[in-house]
Symmetry: C2
Subunit: 142 residues, 2 copies
């Protein structure tokens, strides 16, 4: 199978064409275990094989976001846009204030709380946002 059409089906299902760049961006996002900035993707792609323009990266990511293929968020410290594959499962991250690494949490601690709120406060939870800051294993040593 051609490396350049690895995600052809996914893309066609969304009604957009399968291109070299789009496949490459999806591949990079899939490889990364933490969200990436547009520039990180840009540099990575440029250094590999495929020369690409930064505007194409942004446009591609916006397209993906509008199709819900990727989730766009904003980094807490500097507000830069971050993009990650939408795995459709609910996820939270730990943000290390030392090295700015984002670590994924395997499960969501909101499950039980949701029950409690419904019972005690009569409040129906439809969504939530949880960000946790602190020091990761590596930064604690320094």
């Amino acid at each position: 199978m051609d490396e350049n059409s690895k995600y052809k089906d996914v893309l066609n299902r969304e009604g957009i064409k399968s291109t070299r760049h789009r496949n490459a961006i999806l591949e990079l996002l899939e490889e990364s275990e933490s969200p990436l900035t547009a520039e990180q993707l840009y540099i990575n792609l440029r250094d590999k094989t495929a020369s690409i323009d930064l505007s194409t990266v942004y446009r591609t990511l916006d397209t993906f976001a509008s199709k819900n293929l990727v989730i766009k968020s904003n980094r807490v410290d500097d507000g830069k846009a971050l993009y990650e594959l939408n795995h459709h499962d609910h996820k939270h991250h730990l943000l290390c204030v030392g090295c700015h690494k984002l670590i994924s949490m395997e499960d969501c601690p909101m499950g039980e709380l949701q029950q409690v709120l419904k019972k005690k406060m009569d409040f129906d939870v439809t969504g939530h946002k949880l960000e946790i800051y602190g020091y990761c294993r590596d930064c604690k040593k320094l």
Copy 2:
């Protein structure tokens, strides 16, 4: 008491001068029940009495943030910087997406989670942000 030195003590305690602009910005932040952008503050101040420069607003807010008088964050959807008064008390709210009411939660559900994270992930929590969206008792009926 002079309107322009309402927060003189607070400011002096942080080792910075009490000025017209700084007092006005603190006042606006205190009046607002939600975080504001620099521009919202700017427009509000300009329209009032005090002509002020946008760069002064940013500098003032940065100063306040470095003194922990205000908390700077980034809006989730567009990444714009938001500023709110640091009330120092640890609190979480339920935000009703129906009537936009803010309901205080009496206790913080992060306590136990903090222990778990330290043990399982070797991650030292220094802070967190939790926002819960949903429907309150009254809005559920509609």
